[in-house]
């Protein structure tokens, strides 16, 4: 059976997964439900919905993923189960 420590680690990991997927859902879906309205605004001179689908959401995904993997590594280290550095 999984130990207390492992269970705590997994519940934090699952929590991070949910936050990450919530951000992903916002940038991947929610904003595009309002594409026509967003295009009334502009960013860097581009219509906003056009900007988000051409660059904005893509960049958001990159940032979310680096943030999330960094955070996960911290969780692993806190619980003494990180394998960072192996074979490098």
């Amino acid at each position: 059976m999984a130990s207390k420590n492992h269970e705590a680690h997994w519940s934090k990991t699952s929590g991070l997964m949910k936050v990450t997927l919530a951000l992903w859902f916002f940038f991947g879906y929610v904003i595009f439900m309002f594409g026509t309205d967003l295009n009334n605004f502009s960013f860097l001179g581009y219509p906003l919905a056009y900007y988000m689908t051409a660059q904005g959401s893509l960049a958001a995904f990159v940032i979310i993923l680096f943030w999330s993997t960094g955070k996960q590594q911290k969780i692993d280290e806190e619980h003494g189960v990180s394998d960072a550095g192996r074979g490098e």
């Binding site: 051409a54 680096f66 189960v81």
Partner: protein, 610 residues
Amino acid sequence: MFKGKFTDNLPKIYGVYTGGFLVFCLLMALLESNGVSGKTIGVLFVAFTVAIYAFIGYLSRTMQASAYYVAGREVPTVFNGMATAADWMSGASFVAMAGGIYFGGYTYMAFLVGWTGGYILVASLLAPYLRKFGCYTVPDFIGTRYGGNLARFCAVLVLVLASFTYVTAQINATGTIASRALGIQFEVAVYVGLASILMCSMLGGMRAVTWTQVAQYIVLIIAYLLPVFWISNKIGAGFFPHFMLGDEVARIAQLEQEFGLVKNSKAALAAHPETAGLKSISVAHSAVPAGAMAAWKYISLVICMMVGTASLPHILMRYFTTPSVTAARRSVAWSLFFIFLLYFSAPMLATLSKISLMDPNLPTGIIGKSISDVQNIEWVKNWMAVKQVAIVDFNGDGILQLNEWFMRGGVVVLATPEVAGLPYVISGLVAAGGMAAAMSTADGLVLAISNALSHDVYYKIINPKADTAKRLMVARVLLVVVGIFGAYIASMRLTGILGSVAWAFDFAMSGLFFPLVLGVWWKRATRQGAIAGMIGGLASGTAYLIYVGPKFMAMTPWLGIDHLRFGLIGAPVCLILMIVVSLMTDEPDAKTQAMVDEIRIPSGNTVTGN
């Protein structure tokens, strides 16, 4: 110069390689200015780069199972990111994406969001856990987690179906590029492309494919970004196009108003057979189509591409090659970054290409000019001769209207350097980039298929006693057989590039997404549930594809779920069957549950011991 372990020297090796490639480009530019023909330069570009990849493939030859299947699990994070990006970005991404955006506008860009956002699913739900599990192939995980040969075999079935639909399109693309660059017949060029693909993978398996893919990424990203920056500077649109094309996007919207967006009727097009397979601009560049249905079309495509991304075995297996679980997770982020570099440039290339053709104030503008003048422009003549562009004077006024100018999608990437008046050396570079993109994806796919057949079907099901030498022999023979079969199908030209690429995502999401994710995240998932899910998901998705597919029964799609989105039928069926059947059957034994606990912890040895 190179001391110590091979992997420690990677930055130096690829640094020298990149420098060498740039010197080669300069040399070609020098040859061009000394009067060497564009055709020769194109041949040199493609031949030189392919020879380098083959050489890397030869250097990476191996006789060890772990090197052949998972590159010895020693690929550093950032390099695995580059290799995955090359594995990922296919001939379609490189050649057809900007063209798709050019003609399809906002709605088409759902592909950009879908093909990047899927990596968040890969990193959060799958890659680190599959790495900890320690499998050689994706069906290997299904087979061990759920137990039994039937589950393994179902996973192989989905993998082969998804990857094979994808690989024919890639071999097709290598054939198209090789036939143009080398000036040979398409039916022959397909096999030339295949030979180059096999040279990169046959001797060294995953290890060889990894190191050639890194080399291919470097070529393809240079070949994509250089023209974008060059054209933008040349037409005075801004030195960093990604942040400075706002005015051009606004100007295109204004020109669309002036010229009018007209959709040609089917009857009008049928009267002009030269327009077959070509398109004219009829969709706004940046405007969002109104209505809930349009938004749903966009969002449903994003869902399919994202979930499909997270189920494609040739991508997932790249994360089996990292030294640690942490590295696997981190390298997903790097993959996404390297993919992002190309994808956020594609809309800029489409914008630059469109403004170059549409703006009458630019010397390159052709819309609104007299047709007889346009027909005399050198690049128009060349591309017209190979039936990639066409002009039809529908209203007979002798002036080229927006709806009278037809192009094939791929022309946007392949011809824009020429249109903007860049030297031919850039066109040669772009051809080499397209070849690299198509080859790297084809390699990953052919390897995924043949590894599943050799490891899961041959070794795990048919002959578990086979020794390493025999297993690797079988793996290589299957690699060649799969490749030849793919090239044979490609040479028959059954489908256009993008139709079948989207299908691969739908097949994968229908059959594999939930069995993989629930295998990690739901201990209660049982063998019977997984088998029911895989078979039911794949069968219902395929049945729906046949029902709506324009080349099959062509029935009216339900809720706008057309043949590009049939995974939206297959995946939910898979999920429901998996949950219902799992709950109806006994929960997995203690050993399986302990295994699931084990893969959730990064530290320690892999579950399989591989």
